[in-house]
């Protein structure tokens, strides 16, 4: 089904009044309320809707980065930028959901013990992934397939994936955290994986957040980053065929946020809304003339412009050693409209660390299905706009505009499957690779 003008007109009217948030055309309003859906404003052209979805991205970015209370909800008594844990940082990390032997995760409000190597080193978040490996089941223990990103200090960048409570509840309540649980759920003929698209005015839909962090050191100024103390964990590897042979390690480090995907399922975006942000100093754009690449950048050395760009480090990849810094440029420049919108929101965030972040773009479905829980049979992708989107810290090495090869959030995640690949109904994982991490309980079928 296409987005119809009539349908969008209804949406625009209802959401604008219901949320009482910033009008998409008005000045930014910093609010801790996570928007339920896009506020579409007429005329409903592609450019206008892109703007509206970009506003949704910024609204969500502000709400999720709002300081959190002990229970993880937004602390409305303080402003954004106040030091402390943010709302999304209180969510569940993937390693706490998909446990060895398909064990049931601990309750939402119970902290998961860190890996053994990290125990006794403080009650800090754990960062362990080093590269995005879409569709690879063993990303968790072999995160080295597409290539790590190395900062200017020669240190590997780390990633984390968190989910919000509606998504966590869906996974737990349906037993999707284990292979056998998925088989049992999908064994019922009418069941399919369909995360919550939210209930307007009551509950936001499922949200995933993928973050990229750099260890702060050298000339890095922690004041320029959303910086936290974290346990940087590296799983051990004894197989030389899968990477450098290294011991398990864990150390407390100050890390700074450099990239942030926010993926939000809504009624009008059954393919989810894919918002991606970066630190403003990450990389130059490919089109930026050499003499204007002043930097200093976090993942590009302006003094080494003769080095090959967007190339993964040479193997073997060994996070325990200093590596040659990555030389990265952004393949698809930000649009003028995105630059303008960023300037508005960064202006509203001036004086906080969040002004140092920029929206790269928002990918959204121009032809969503009628039912947010049931994919269109002929166009399950929903014709994404823009067709391609990459974050320089998370899809570093597959930026570009080649179908099936270059980064498109929806195209890639549409290939995600469960561990029950018996039919399209049972294999479709609703745009998340997380379910491929479910391990077997060992129970006989």
């Amino acid at each position: 089904m296409k987005i119809t003008l009539k349908r969008l007109a209804c949406l625009g009217a209802s959401f604008t009044s219901a949320l009482a948030m910033a009008d998409a055309a008005g000045p930014p309003v910093l609010s801790p309320a996570i928007p339920f859906d896009v506020t579409a404003n007429p005329p409903f052209t592609l450019d206008n809707l892109q703007h509206d979805f970009d506003v949704l991205s910024w609204q969500t970015f502000v709400a999720l980065n709002w300081p959190a209370k002990a229970d993880g909800s937004a602390d409305t008594s303080v402003k954004i930028g106040t030091p402390g844990q943010t709302v999304w940082e209180s969510w569940k990390e993937s390693y706490a959901i998909f446990l060895p032997q398909g064990q049931k995760p601990l309750a939402w409000d119970q902290a998961t013990p860190p890996p053994a190597a990290c125990q006794g080193k403080g009650n800090l978040p754990v960062l362990q992934q080093m590269g995005k490996v879409a569709g690879v089941l063993d990303e968790f223990i072999q995160p080295f397939k597409t290539g790590p990103l190395v900062d200017q200090n020669g240190t590997y960048t780390r990633n984390a994936i968190m989910v919000n409570q509606p998504m966590f509840d869906d996974i737990v309540n349906k037993g999707l955290y284990s292979k056998e649980g998925q088989q049992a759920f999908l064994g019922k003929a009418d069941n399919r994986i369909a995360f919550s698209c939210g209930v307007k005015d009551k509950q936001v839909g499922a949200i995933m957040v993928k973050s990229a962090w750099k260890v702060l050191g050298g000339n890095d100024n922690p004041q320029e980053f959303h910086a936290v103390d974290a346990l940087v964990y590296t799983p051990g590897n004894t197989d030389p065929n899968t990477g450098a042979v290294i011991p398990e390690s864990c150390s407390a480090q100050k890390v700074g946020l450099v990239g942030l995907h926010i993926v939000h399922k809504t009624k009008d975006a059954p393919q989810w809304v894919w918002s991606t942000f970066e630190h403003v100093r990450n990389v130059p754009e490919k089109t930026t003339p050499m003499n204007e690449r002043k930097g200093p950048y976090l993942f590009y050395d302006a003094q080494a412009s003769d080095r090959p760009i967007n190339e993964p480090p040479a193997r073997p990849w060994d996070p325990s050693k200093k590596a040659t810094p990555s030389q990265i440029v952004r393949e698809i420049p930000l649009t003028v409209a995105t630059h303008q919108l960023n300037a508005q929101w960064q202006g509203a965030l001036k004086g906080t660390v969040w002004a140092n972040y920029q929206l790269i773009s928002t990918q959204w479905p121009t032809a969503p299905a009628d039912d947010c829980q049931l994919p269109s049979p002929t166009n399950p992708l929903g014709t994404p706009a823009p067709s391609f989107l990459a974050n320089a810290t998370l899809e570093t090495y597959n930026q570009g505009t080649t179908p099936q090869a270059s980064s498109s959030c929806m195209e890639c995640h549409n290939n995600a499957t469960t561990r029950v690949t018996q039919s399209p109904r049972t294999s479709f994982a609703d745009f998340t690779f997380l379910l491929e991490r479910a391990q077997s309980t060992g129970a006989k079928e």
Binding site: L46, Q422, S427
Partner: protein, 163 residues
């Protein structure tokens, strides 16, 4: 669609292919094949012949589709008739089939217009399938009945055909 020539090109294409204009050129269209196909046909046919084709269409566009198709495809000007056939192939196959010698292009030359043109071309949907090398359907789809022709194209299958 603010450009009347582009709109006429899309409407003519709808008549020639039997596919609705809003399927060929959706209101929200991030891929933007219509202007690319317009430029491809204009270059391939030559500006004058392409203009003649659109002018002809504009003069008869209120007639029934079958009459329009007959007037175009059976036109006494071979550049109009053959150019129109190449436009049909362009939408269906994503490739430009040079209909006659024009500039440096020779009759019979063929080229895929772009990766997106190939991927989005309509022959695949009419076949209730997907392009070779690209599919957005979910794992295991090959073992199931495809969606109907009407779901893909808005056009009912004829009696006796696969639905």
């Amino acid at each position: 669609m603010s450009d009347p020539n582009l709109q006429n090109f899309i409407d003519l294409s709808a008549v020639l292919t039997g596919l609705a204009a809003d399927l060929l050129a959706p209101t929200l269209d991030p891929i933007k094949l219509p202007p690319l196909f317009f430029a491809t046909a204009q270059q391939g046919m030559g500006t004058a012949a392409f203009s003649n084709l659109l002018t002809l269409y504009a003069s008869i566009k209120n007639q029934p589709p079958a009459q329009i198709a007959s007037a175009v495809l059976g036109n006494s000007d071979p550049q109009i008739a053959q150019g129109a056939r190449s436009i049909m192939k362009l939408w269906l196959l994503g490739s430009w089939y040079q209909p006659y010698d024009q500039g440096t292009a020779h009759k019979g030359d063929t080229r895929v217009v772009s990766d997106q043109a190939y991927k989005e071309s309509w022959a695949w949907k009419i076949a209730q399938s997907h392009p070779m090398g690209y599919s957005q359907y979910h794992f295991g789809y090959w073992n199931e009945q495809p969606p109907t022709l009407k779901q893909f194209t808005g056009v009912d299958a004829k009696e006796g055909q696969q639905p």
